[in-house]
């Protein structure tokens, strides 16, 4: 067998207990050294609605949650009705026949029904069907019962021996039943002998913040960014981070700015709506030259939009956030481990260049889960706090201290409040080198220009520090798929399939968005391959940005704005449609209805 590749879909209503089996499976996979990609499609609802969790695992790196389901666990009739038609030959559907009736399945789809009444007579509660389904699934994929035994022991440890025994009995019944009635999959779940870790993107961002030395974190809860707050709050005491939930996002960013000015590495996270409220203050951080990091986990907008659905629709918002021109860094991590690595990197840049930094994530990235080699999680990252008087005892340059001294780099040493001898006022009004407002008495065009240019000069310094994007894949290609941020994995998987179909494609995935390596990108995109831009929004925000920075108009566009992320075949189909000349803008249809 060349590659083990298994996708499990678990669907049901909110409140039916999908997270727990999802968590158990994810842990089971990474403990065997298998790679993992998981995505949960859900609604903004506490109970009811329809949730569909996809877990894909393989002995080779998994680039996306894919577009096939090998095992469907239907916890209610709704899931059965929505997904059975998508099941293909060789797959299996697990369901409680007491309550759920299958419809017409394609030939070769194994309908694995069990009866909760029969297998667990006398056990109350709906969750028992999950235990039976999970044990039957493990039997199907060739996992020994002792693994399940261990999991149940851990899972129900707090509930006492009676509950453990009850669940074990149910699991055993399900496992044995599956053994006698269902046809197992031809290859058992492999064990590579290694152990991997897994986390979700929000956790990765929070841990990256911890590694960077964030000492102050505040937020207002907003899906899909709340996971960062939850991780931070849970680890606050252990890591010595002051974590505050505050009244609104305006307060969030202003508090972070206050803490950052006083000397902390300060971070916050929100989604597009909260970010809109923060806009004015981000500009103020640039004007006062205070380093602060804000994460925007994009969801489908505008306004309250679709709170639990993904989109890449905030690019223009973050680029235009706040009045006036100001230096800022905007970065979009391209995968979940990259979320972890990007945060310390960004903190070093914002500290050195004393400006705000924005991380653009999205629901797919932030709430998706991925395996990671623990060796990749290096907390011992370099920390560069830039020129700070009062932190390292450095003294001001010759003469009196001027907070906003005009320098070639645009960076002026900052002094931490509380340091004797360097008193100054930072201001959101335009000011002189010493912080005195230039709007007092005379506005002085010369001073305004000098100070504005000083701040904006930082952008050149930042550009020199960040690496230009590189082409991934074959140098000679028929098509270059251009993406930004979270679409990296799915684009690369689509490339593999295109190659199998005889279409050579490569990928330019842009991570650092502002400042932008326009010249390098122009060189890469004028090599002769057709360019197709893939993004999760309606208007082609990145396509317009690319055009504004390089003058390059793409040959085709693949756009998706239905709230769900791309699946590999959406891109494959789009590339073929565009290359054939049938379409210039391809909008795929999302087949799974959630």
């Amino acid at each position: 067998m060349s590659r083990y590749d298994l996708s499990i879909g678990i669907g049901g209503a909110a409140g039916q207990g999908i997270a727990t089996p999802g968590d158990i499976l994810a842990r089971l996979f990474v403990r065997r050294g298998l790679h993992l990609s998981a995505y949960n499609a859900y609604q903004s609802i506490i109970r009811g609605g329809h949730i569909f969790l996809t877990l894909r695992t393989s002995d080779e790196p998994v680039l996306s949650f894919g577009d096939k389901i090998d095992v469907l666990i239907a916890l209610n009739q709704d899931t059965m009705d929505r997904h059975l038609r998508l099941m293909r030959s060789g797959s299996a559907v697990l369901y409680n026949a007491d309550k759920i009736k299958p419809g017409n399945a394609e030939p070769g789809v194994q309908l694995c029904h069990f009866s909760v009444k029969e297998l667990a007579p006398g056990v109350k509660g709906d969750l028992v069907q999950n235990t039976i389904a999970l044990s039957a699934l493990l039997r199907l994929i060739g996992v020994e019962f002792k693994v399940l035994e261990e999991i149940i022991n851990v899972q129900f440890r707090r509930k006492g021996p009676t509950v453990i025994e009850e669940n074990l009995a149910v699991a055993r019944a399900g496992y044995e039943y599956a053994g006698s009635r269902f046809q197992p999959f031809p290859w058992p779940l492999p064990d590579t002998g290694k152990r991997l870790a897994f986390f979700e993107g929000n956790q990765a961002l929070a841990m990256g913040g911890a590694a960077a030395g964030v000492r102050f974190y505040c937020a207002y809860p907003m899906s899909p960014s709340s996971g960062v707050l939850h991780w931070m709050a849970r680890h606050a005491r252990q890591l010595g981070i002051v974590v505050r939930q505050v009244e609104d996002e305006i307060s969030v960013i202003n508090m972070a700015i206050g803490a950052a000015h006083a000397g902390c590495r300060a971070m916050c996270a929100t989604s597009g709506g909260g970010f809109a409220l923060m806009s004015e203050a981000l500009g103020s951080a640039a004007m006062m030259e205070i380093p602060v990091v804000c994460i925007n986990v994009q969801r489908a907008g505008p306004a309250t939009g679709v709170p639990t659905k993904t989109e890449q629709g905030d690019l223009w918002q973050v680029m235009g956030a706040g009045q006036g021109d100001y230096p800022r860094i905007i970065v979009a991590p391209t995968n979940i481990p990259d979320c972890f690595k990007t945060v310390p990197r960004l903190f070093n840049l914002v500290d050195r260049f004393q400006c705000p930094g924005i991380i653009l994530s999205d629901l797919l990235l932030s709430e998706g889960r991925a395996s990671v080699d623990p060796a990749e999680l290096d907390f011992n990252v370099p920390i560069d706090r830039g020129e700070v008087i009062g932190l390292n005892g450095a003294l001001a340059p010759d003469g009196g201290y001027k907070r906003y001294r005009l320098t070639e780099s645009g960076v002026s040493p900052r002094a931490l409040p509380g340091t004797p001898g360097y008193m100054h006022t930072v201001a959101t009004d335009e000011h002189d080198e010493d912080g005195v407002l230039i709007s007092d008495e005379y506005t002085n065009p010369h001073k305004r220009r000098a100070m504005h240019e000083k701040r904006m000069r930082k952008m050149q310094g930042i550009l020199a520090e960040i690496e230009p994007p590189k082409l991934f894949g074959p140098e000679e290609a028929q098509v270059t798929l251009v993406g930004w941020g979270s679409t990296e994995g799915v684009i690369r998987e689509a490339m593999q399939r295109l190659a199998a179909d005889g279409i050579a494609a490569n990928n330019l995935q842009v991570k650092w968005l502002v400042p932008f390596h326009g010249e390098a990108v122009t060189r890469l995109l004028t090599k002769g391959a057709k360019t197709i831009i893939v993004e999760n929004n309606y208007s082609g925000q990145f396509a317009r940005y690319l055009r504004s920075e390089t003058g390059l108009a793409a040959d085709g566009h693949i756009r998706k704005y239905d709230g769900e992320p791309f699946m590999p075949h959406h891109i494959v189909d789009g590339v073929k449609a565009i290359l054939s000349g049938a379409q210039r803008v391809y909008v795929p249809v999302h087949e799974i209805m959630v």
Partner: protein, 310 residues
């Protein structure tokens, strides 16, 4: 570069700073002269704040003055301490972050009634309920001055301004009972025509561990022709002269609602049994100010964080 913060701090201190000379009012003179209109009440707050810092024996670098936007919010530029002149209405949020980041700083927030009770109203409410350890001086002139005379949240009902030519039909905010109800632990009102009295109120506020509000009548001589110096001179009475007990909640609320021929000034309400936010924050309990702690995650902690993911 993770440097031991306390060491850095000591090195940065100029030689002999341990026995720093007592701060004088002259030491606190800012880089520029105030640009307020002649006769503006805000001069009284500036001079009272300087005097309070001097009398409390604080060094200029130990104080940070944070403001929003408006005439009164220009104050940080007129005093030689650390200062932040932030956005309209946002000073208390910024100040909370700064206070938690370095709880050794004495944070004074200055601003106007529009800034604090209008655009910043939500932050005002929440900063009080959190009992953040800072002193908030609101220069209350009952009008928007810098935007050339429109109603403010404290303008009295019926007041005619550029934006209310028929007279304001809205009820004004009464910051004193509002602050008491919201959880401020030191609530006072001063009048900028009574600077000595104001100095005492500010000193009390800075000394107080917790949120101190000092609402200071600060007449706008240019735009507010109703609530003038004469208006307040004739009406203000000191609570101290009336035997008011600032620990009596009912009396404090009752005095706070008085507005008429007699308008009380002084300390309405004070309680010292409630810890401030930084005192309650477990992370700050040991290790000095957050801002000066070394960065980085210790290897054993990092290992346990990674273990949790496996």
């Amino acid at each position: 570069m993770s440097v031991s913060p306390t060491e850095g701090r000591r090195e940065a201190r100029p030689a002999g700073a341990g026995a720093a000379a007592r701060t004088t009012v002259k030491d606190l003179k800012g880089r520029v002269e105030p640009d307020w209109c002649p006769g503006c009440g805000d001069f009284g707050v500036l001079s009272a704040l300087k005097q309070a810092i001097v009398e409390l024996g604080l060094q200029p670098h130990e104080v940070m003055v944070i403001s929003g936007i408006g005439c009164s919010s220009n104050l940080p530029g007129f005093i030689n301490t650390y200062g932040m002149h932030t956005l309209h209405g946002r000073a208390l949020a910024v100040a909370t972050g700064a206070q938690l980041a370095n709880h050794e700083l004495k944070i004074v927030v200055t601003g106007g009634d529009g800034d604090g009770y209008g655009i910043g109203g939500n932050h005002f409410l929440h900063t009080m309920r959190r009992n953040v350890d800072l002193t908030y001086i609101v220069m209350n002139n009952q009008i928007y001055g810098l935007t050339t005379g429109q109603v403010s949240p404290t303008s009295v009902k019926g007041m005619k301004t550029k934006s209310t030519p028929e007279g304001s039909i809205e009820n004004p905010i009464n910051p004193i009972p509002l602050a008491i109800a919201a959880g401020a632990t030191y609530v006072a009102r001063g009048y900028t025509g009574q600077v000595k009295h104001l100095v005492e109120l500010i000193k009390g506020g800075i000394r107080h561990r917790g949120f101190a509000l000092i609402d200071a009548f600060s007449p706008c001589v240019t735009f507010n022709h109703d609530n003038t110096h004469d208006f307040f001179k004739q009406r203000t009475v000191k609570l101290e002269d009336r035997g008011h007990d600032p620990t009596n909640f009912a009396a404090a609320m009752e005095q706070g609602y008085r507005w008429g021929d007699e308008i009380p000034i002084g300390l309405f309400w004070k309680r010292e049994d409630i810890p401030s936010l930084d005192e309650l924050e477990p992370v700050l309990a040991e290790g000095g100010p957050l801002a000066r702690r070394p960065l980085g995650v210790p290897p054993d902690v990092a290992r346990s964080l990674i273990r949790d993911l496996m």
